[in-house]
Symmetry: C2
Subunit: 250 residues, 2 copies
Amino acid sequence: MAAPQTIHPDHHPLIRKLESIFRLTDEERQALLNLPMQVNVIKEDQDIVREGDRPSRSFAILNGLTCTYKMTGDGRRQIVKFCIPGDIPDIQSLHLKVLDISIATLTQCSVGFITHEALWDLCMRYPRLAAAFWRETLVEGAIFREWVLNVGRREAYNRMAHLMCEMLVRMRAVALVEGHACNLPITQIEIADALGISPVHVNRVLQQMRGDGLIELKGDWLNIPDWEKLKEAGDFDPLYLHLVQEWPAA
Amino acid sequence: MAAPQTIHPDHHPLIRKLESIFRLTDEERQALLNLPMQVNVIKEDQDIVREGDRPSRSFAILNGLTCTYKMTGDGRRQIVKFCIPGDIPDIQSLHLKVLDISIATLTQCSVGFITHEALWDLCMRYPRLAAAFWRETLVEGAIFREWVLNVGRREAYNRMAHLMCEMLVRMRAVALVEGHACNLPITQIEIADALGISPVHVNRVLQQMRGDGLIELKGDWLNIPDWEKLKEAGDFDPLYLHLVQEWPAA
DNA sequence: CGTTTGGTTGAAATGTGTCAAACTTTGTGG
DNA sequence: CCACAAAGTTTGACACATTTCAACCAAACG
């Protein structure tokens, strides 16, 4: 609905993300700013795209939280990734015509739609940007792999701790962490769908973790009182996120 | 150990795979054939690369079976993908300097090492090949996502059926299926590590599936007497494999 | 042949799921 | 600002899928 709008470079999540990987040239930065992007605000709990769709454009999350999910035939949902500002969750559709995933908002979001045509054009003109996008999809793949490990080989308690670690580190990378806390407005049902367990069990595990002083969840805020302890519980090693700039140990 | 060797185009797994996506030009095909590739034979149960490595080259599986896996801190293994001829399982290392996975042979394999330098050169010269490699990594990501769903939301029986379906379809795509059967020399322990369950349970589930007439496992051969039934049990939809050429229904 | 590796079996332990109800918080319209 | 509805969280009891442990068996192998 909203008309194309100008975003200040420093606040453009895409630019911020790419800059965290390598230094953009002025020309590259300008090309990104000039990308024709239709910014829409979408309310919470809406599918943005659905499995089976054949989109002609991709979208960047500018603001808010979304998740990528799949369903079994009998209607059980598995969230395979939480997407945060700066992500382009369906960039795969540039190459793969039919979507094998659905993507839904978890909160109200503003997303920027970019036509595949414009993306292709950008990639052709700026091979370094093409490489950066490719790289992003590879990191995404690495995250999926870690999730297979997490769901397949860790028990609920550690699995949950691992997820919290990942979210905090990824949020920190896009400057969405304040101190040891970040805004994480997701329900226990959504956590359950991400971890492959039942909502009831999520509740029990969360209480246990709170009791152990690993996390604090007040309203939509996730606070990590003891990062090292959480990391230990989650068996968490950020290597798979392939962040270029690790932040100093807490 | 082995010296670079010539492979007939029709038997070159890489070319065969790319040709299944789009028609290569003569020039592209020649460029692939000219890729300097060091072919090594590696015996079974050997790590080819390990998590933490910083490889300067990638490798294509020319022959044999390998798996990509990760380990938890307390030594539990999760296989995240089986790799078959035509795959380049660590092509991600082109962009991501440090490996977040290990890759091991399951059988004796012949693999072709290609330096990153040569791959970059190829990608620069032939953008369609670069796009094809990117696409391959995206399909790989789609497979990981499906595995998260499989491990997170399906019970052992269906999970196993799903894995068998995937293996058969992927093997068929590279002409490794004869009739309804394919060579699948993996142990029950390896299946357990792929499905995130215990070897004992794999055994029980396999017996149940055999009893239900879903699969036959004699020696290293997997036979599928009733594809539709297996597909049903595995809740299997090949969409996520993004094969260009579906094969006609059995 | 003995040794190794992988497969099979049973019994007991356990993590997690299911169901159903109660409780709490949030949001909304009167 | 209250009242109510809706959404999300918490709790308990019980069921069950899967794990663990330990032993035994069968096939492959040098």
